[in-house]
């Protein structure tokens, strides 16, 4: 069987820095605000190539987010960059009161989300950001699955008038989408058809889910559908219900805590609309540590093999 996963891998930061530079050049209102992480998030590409559009706000995330709100009221579209961990926890009150509640046009890029943050450990990993951001009224929460989708999602955010949180990751992932792909807010994408079970995944966990689905089909003859959810809020509840009707068994998969993230959002929908067996893949309410990527995925139970096991588990409940 031919895989839909490319052998070549690209980091989300590539798509992100390229697109950020272009938007800052094309639109006079676009400015980049950095919390002294430009070299990590790759916002430094704007500092180096379009310095007038780069505002260093220092290691002061609370001020950065409130100042972004102030800037937005003057007609500027601020793109704020920090780590997902710091945006979602250090400055969430500022984001809530001054950006989300007044629905100001501020973009938030949460870099280094999830577990794989380049050996920085639990202080820098972010397993709660989806949960935190999706509870805020007026927020749009997006978790693209590859570098190309990062570009498309940023183009959408640029056009959209309101707060958008974009969850991106540090390392390289297979390419899932090509140039023709159009991102639609609140729409899921079927990456692979199947009839026995559906994996609903988001962000970096999508390529791992595709890998798991292909393996199940090839090695065990189990037909698994993969539904990618780049838009966590608004959520494509219709696609979730349809998936439940079609395969009758759902696995959710995300590089995030199993509490409050995509798995919770999907379960909330199914419980009310179409109860079917669900198994959630994610970090199971525990703190993590620093370590090499493969070992981390394994120890914290979000590797492709863990997705495979989850599908087998959910089929037993069917």
């Amino acid at each position: 069987m031919k895989t839909i996963l490319s052998a070549e891998k690209q980091t989300m930061r590539d798509g992100l820095s390229k697109t950020m530079l272009r938007l800052s050049q094309e639109d006079e209102n676009v400015y980049v605000l950095d919390g002294d992480l430009g070299t990590s998030t790759k916002a430094d590409v704007v500092a180096d190539n379009n310095p007038e559009k780069f505002l260093q706000m220092g290691i002061a995330e609370q001020n950065m987010m409130s100042a972004a709100a102030g800037l937005a009221t003057t007609g500027i579209q601020p793109w704020t960059f920090s780590f997902a961990a710091f945006l979602s926890k250090r400055s969430i009150d500022q984001i809530q009161v001054q950006i989300a509640q007044p629905k100001l046009d501020v973009k938030m890029i949460g870099g280094y989300s999830g577990l794989l943050t380049g050996l920085t450990g639990k202080t820098h990993q972010s397993l709660e950001d989806i949960a935190i951001f999706r509870t805020l009224a007026n927020m749009v929460v997006l978790a693209p699955g590859d570098s190309k989708e990062v570009e498309k999602v940023m183009e959408f955010a640029h056009q959209y008038d309101g707060p958008v949180y974009i969850r991106v990751a540090r390392d390289a992932y297979p390419i899932l989408f090509d140039d023709d792909y159009t991102f639609e807010l609140g729409k899921a994408i079927t990456l692979k058809e199947g009839t026995d079970a559906t994996i609903i995944s988001t962000g970096t966990q999508t390529s791992r889910s595709v890998e798991a689905a292909e393996k199940l089909e090839e090695e065990e003859g189990i037909s698994v559908e993969v539904l990618h959810m780049p838009s966590i809020k608004p959520l494509d509840t219709e696609a979730i219900v349809k998936a439940a009707e079609k395969t009758g068994a759902i696995v959710t998969a995300e590089e995030h805590s199993i509490i409050g993230g995509l798995g919770s959002a999907v379960a909330e929908t199914l419980v009310e609309e179409k109860p079917v067996p669900v198994v959630r893949v994610g970090v199971k309410d525990r703190n993590s540590e620093s370590g090499p990527n493969e070992a981390m995925l394994d120890k914290y139970e979000i590797s492709p093999n863990h997705v495979v096991d989850a599908v087998k588990q959910v089929l037993k409940k069917k």
Partner: protein
């Protein structure tokens, strides 16, 4: 000190401050909730800004070139609402809706529903950062408007205030004026053993100066001094200005003045009558 304020204008400011203080204590009595001490202490600042300083218009409150005002100590919203009503942004009658369902006059300022409010605040420490963003936005886009912000002295315990002070100074925001409502009392306060629970001396002047700001100390209830300070701020170039307005919490009603008790107490009908009389007499 030479004065920039003509006698007639000064009397107008004094009268408007009196009128707004009356409206404020009436509104809190009517709502049965709300803060009083902080709004009373900042009232002369609100009135001076809205009648004498800010380039704003009641007909076109959202004009792109208007001066911006951010009430960082958002819990003093009812004081700002009273000043805005007296200035004609909305009918005085509407003050009766303060804190009630569907009102535009929320407990803390909500920029999405009341024209003339430039930022939503209420969680202390944030407003001054938003004001920094506005002043920075003006600089980046070559816009002429100036940004003003009132900060509480208790509020200044928030670390974010100093993040904002730092960044404002780095970007040389001489189009930004912060005013510290230095009434030396916060909500519960510090136990110094004298029952007053005032804020320990913090050398606000030295702190702001150390952050690179131009600092002016004034009596925050004296309209001449407020006017002169706001004028001086306009002459400063290359750095933001902070006016340390020394104020009295609860200013204008003797039994509300300088006491922790009146941070957010609601006046009874009798207290309201007495308060209105004192304000009228100008005690």
């Amino acid at each position: 000190m030479s004065t920039l304020l003509q006698e007639e204008q000064k009397n107008l400011l004094i009268n408007k401050s009196k009128e707004a203080r009356k409206q404020l204590i009436k509104a809190v009595n009517h709502a049965g909730a709300g803060h009083i001490g902080g709004p009373m202490s900042a009232m002369d600042l609100f009135i001076n800004l809205y009648f004498n300083e800010l380039n704003v218009s009641t007909e076109d409150p959202d004009n792109d070139n208007r001066d911006r005002f951010v009430l960082s100590k958002g819990h003093s919203a009812i004081g700002l609402y009273a000043a805005l009503a007296v200035r004609g942004f909305f009918p005085i009658e509407e003050l009766k809706t303060f804190d009630s369902l569907d009102s535009r006059l929320q407990a803390h300022p909500d920029m999405t529903i009341l024209p003339g409010l430039d930022m939503s605040t209420g969680s202390l420490g944030q407003g001054i950062s938003a004001a920094v963003g506005m002043a920075l936005g003006a600089k980046l886009q070559n816009k002429e408007f100036r940004t003003y912000c009132i900060v509480g002295d208790g509020e200044s315990q928030e670390g974010q205030v100093w993040e904002a002070a730092d960044v404002a100074s780095k970007y040389k925001l001489d189009n930004l004026v912060a005013i510290l409502d230095n009434n030396k009392i916060q909500q519960f306060g510090w136990n110094a053993g004298n029952g007053k629970r005032e804020i320990p001396a913090v050398n606000a002047h030295g702190r702001w100066e150390a952050f690179g700001w131009h600092v002016i100390d004034i009596d925050g209830h004296n309209h001449e001094e407020i006017t002169n300070a706001l004028h001086e701020a306009k002459q400063v170039s290359g750095k933001p200005t902070i006016i340390i307005a020394n104020t009295v919490k609860g200013k204008g009603v003797s039994f509300m003045e300088d006491t922790i008790k009146w941070h957010s107490r609601v006046p009874t009908d009798e207290e309201l009558e007495l308060g209105l009389k004192e304000l009228e007499a100008g005690v």
